[in-house]
């Protein structure tokens, strides 16, 4: 297991390095001069040149890449061009919003999708199955930001139960902070839940015909007991795979949703940084997100071995 984890970690670092190179190159090609954005279009040519020199923009690409990645390696994420603040602090503030948002969305989507998928499989071809398929079809078809707008119309403007946007900050208390995250995480979770419910349904349906389900029935378990106790765990590998694959989609969705709900999260930070050509913020946030995605993928791989004891031997 230790060897497995070490190998996993090495792969993660290599992937992250590759991602950083791609990121750097893409942002380097991106048109727009940060110095020009900072000084405005009326700026004098020599002031611009001086600022470029001060920001290191006149250096060759390789030097700039090494300076960036070397800083990141020792925890120095650089200084934002526009906020004039250390990027590390900016990111930490925003993560306090985005990480709970994403986690809540994953919890909600799993809590909806797995029972719905198992129920659909257990009542295969009957009414409950059709209702769940139809609902998930709608969920897949509707974009999350539009669901967000509908949720605001229903729950904050119509019923007045939850805030329509903004974030009071964790210092305002856990209750109000969570309340501010419920609608956005629901908007993120519902389309994901729709896909996950379908995967769960087909995965469980595949397991239904297995001999050990028949053994479980012969013990006296009802159809749904046999599915929950013996089917689900064996059906879990494709489900966990999809949860892992959905994570980057969730992060991308968070950029839209944070803007719909005016949440000061990483997504909104990336959106603002992009508008202001704040390349250093953009690079750091994108690298962080890439790291998160890679981390989640590794967690998924490790989860496989927890789910299926047969995979453990091969790993050790």
């Amino acid at each position: 297991m230790a060897l497995f984890l070490a190998r996993r970690l090495a792969t993660m670092l290599a992937t992250l390095m590759a991602a950083s190179v791609v990121l750097f190159l893409v942002l380097d090609i991106l048109p727009g001069d940060p110095a020009l954005v900072m000084l405005g279009t009326e700026a004098q040519a020599d002031t611009l040149a001086a600022l470029r020199r001060q920001m290191g923009l006149d250096q060759p690409a390789l030097t700039r890449y090494l300076a960036w990645i070397g800083g990141v390696a020792v925890g120095d994420f650089g200084l934002s061009y526009t906020w004039r603040l250390p990027v590390a602090g900016l990111i930490l503030d925003r993560m306090a919003v985005t990480v709970p948002l994403a986690a809540l969305a994953i919890v909600i989507s799993t809590a909806i999708a797995i029972p719905a998928g198992v129920l659909a499989a257990a009542s295969h071809g009957r009414a409950a199955d059709w209702v769940i398929i139809a609902a998930s079809q709608i969920g897949v078809a509707v974009p999350n930001f539009w669901i967000g707008i509908l949720l605001v119309l229903g729950f904050s403007i119509g019923l007045g139960w939850l805030p329509s946007g903004g974030f009071p900050g964790w210092e305002a208390g856990v209750g109000p902070a969570i309340a501010a995250l419920i609608l956005p995480s629901l908007a993120l979770a519902l389309p994901q839940a729709a896909i996950l419910a379908r995967v769960t349904r087909s995965s469980v349906l595949e397991v239904v015909g297995e001999d050990y389900i028949r053994t479980a029935r012969a013990k006296g378990l009802s159809r749904s007991q046999a599915l929950w106790r013996h089917g689900l765990r064996n059906a879990l590998i494709p489900i966990v795979t999809i949860i892992g694959l959905q994570f980057p989609v969730l992060i991308a969705g968070a950029i839209l949703i944070e803007n719909v709900f005016a949440l000061p999260g990483l997504g909104r930070l990336i959106f603002q940084a992009l508008g202001q050509r704040d390349l250093i913020v953009l690079k750091d946030v994108a690298l962080l997100l890439a790291g998160l995605v890679i981390l989640v993928n590794s967690l998924v791989d490790i989860t496989y071995t927890l789910i299926d004891p047969r995979l453990r031997g091969r790993v050790a």
Binding site: D211, R214, T215, A218, K219, L221, S222
Partner: protein, 312 residues
């Protein structure tokens, strides 16, 4: 205790099992023999109420005074695993690969006997020892893939016997195992059934398996009971040409050339009119165009063949 009367099974309206009747008291054993497609596994699934949705059973399965075919699902769940245990063919796939075997044995105990986790685990260990799994205590936490085929089948038997059922169904329990292990598993089944005074229904395509294990035998061909009687009697003196053919097809004395029955079991919906075996039978003649009834040829001995007296 078990009284089956005119049990017939149809799949999507096509008859898969023609009406069969038999009864079994505690301590008695019945072997059901036939090739694949003879309806023997459907019969076993009907006895525990787990027929696939496409299959419809008619007739009466009177088990301890209740007709299983008229019971609802909840009542069947009370009986399955509690009063009727079943051992399946494939020990490789019949156990949940993601659950330790101790828990799989204990599950029925929690369900039917209301034991708590600790009590069920202790009882599961006793059962694993009873089915002669060496080092059972150390194996409780192991997963099925860590066990050999024979040991997995022992776990399957422990699961079936967990709640002390009165009827044990074994559907080809040794088919997937090595020959040396087969004999051990059969001995174990026979011993355990005798110790507990169980009624045992053993299903196999192999007359040899049934010969050593059950007192009575029923031979099925293409969904029809063609011969039934005391096992020793039927094997020594078969009266149906199909039974005789099965016996000749068994590997016997060294050097003897193995004989086969020409052709194969007709698929569902393509069974011939009249005697279903006549296309493959050396004795078939015009009389066989009419379906032979099961006729008593001796006390407890029935044969469905117009030429039952022509076999040597």
């Amino acid at each position: 205790m078990l009284d089956v009367r005119d049990l017939a099974i149809a799949i999507n309206g096509m008859p898969a099992l023609e009406p069969v009747s038999f009864s079994l008291a505690r301590g008695q054993s019945l072997g059901i023999v036939g090739e694949s497609g003879s309806g023997k596994s459907l019969l076993a699934l009907a006895l525990i109420g787990l027929l696939p949705p496409a299959a419809k059973a008619t007739g009466v399965i009177d088990f301890e005074g209740r007709d299983l075919l008229t019971l609802d699902e909840a009542a069947l769940c009370q009986i399955r695993g509690a009063s009727i245990g079943m051992v399946f063919q494939e020990p490789m796939t019949a156990l949940n690969p993601a659950q330790p075997i101790g828990r799989q044995v204990a599950e029925g105990l929690v369900l039917h006997r209301g034991l708590d986790r600790m009590g069920a685990a202790a009882e599961a260990l006793r059962l694993l020892e009873r089915v002669r799994i060496p080092g059972a205590a150390g194996r409780m936490a192991q997963y099925p893939h860590e066990l050999s085929g024979g040991q997995r089948q022992r776990v399957g038997i422990a699961i079936a016997l967990a709640c002390q059922p009165t009827l044990l169904l074994a559907d080809e329990p040794t088919t997937a195992l090595d020959v040396t292990v087969q004999a051990e598993i059969l001995d174990l089944l026979a011993d355990l059934a005798a110790e507990d005074g169980l009624a045992l229904v053993l299903i196999s395509h192999d007359l040899g398996v049934v010969a050593t294990t059950t007192a009575r035998v029923m031979v099925l061909y293409a969904g029809q009971c063609v011969e039934t009687g005391p096992t020793a009697d039927v094997l020594a003196n078969p009266r149906h040409p199909y039974t005789a053919g099965l016996l000749r097809a068994m590997p016997g004395a060294a050097g003897a050339r193995l004989q086969t029955i020409p052709g194969s079991v007709p698929p569902l919906g393509q069974r011939p009119t009249g005697c279903s075996f006549r296309d493959r039978c050396g004795l078939a003649d015009a009389a066989c165009a009419e379906r032979p009834d099961l006729i008593a040829v001796a006390p407890g001995r029935h044969v469905a063949c117009h030429h039952r007296d022509q076999l040597p």
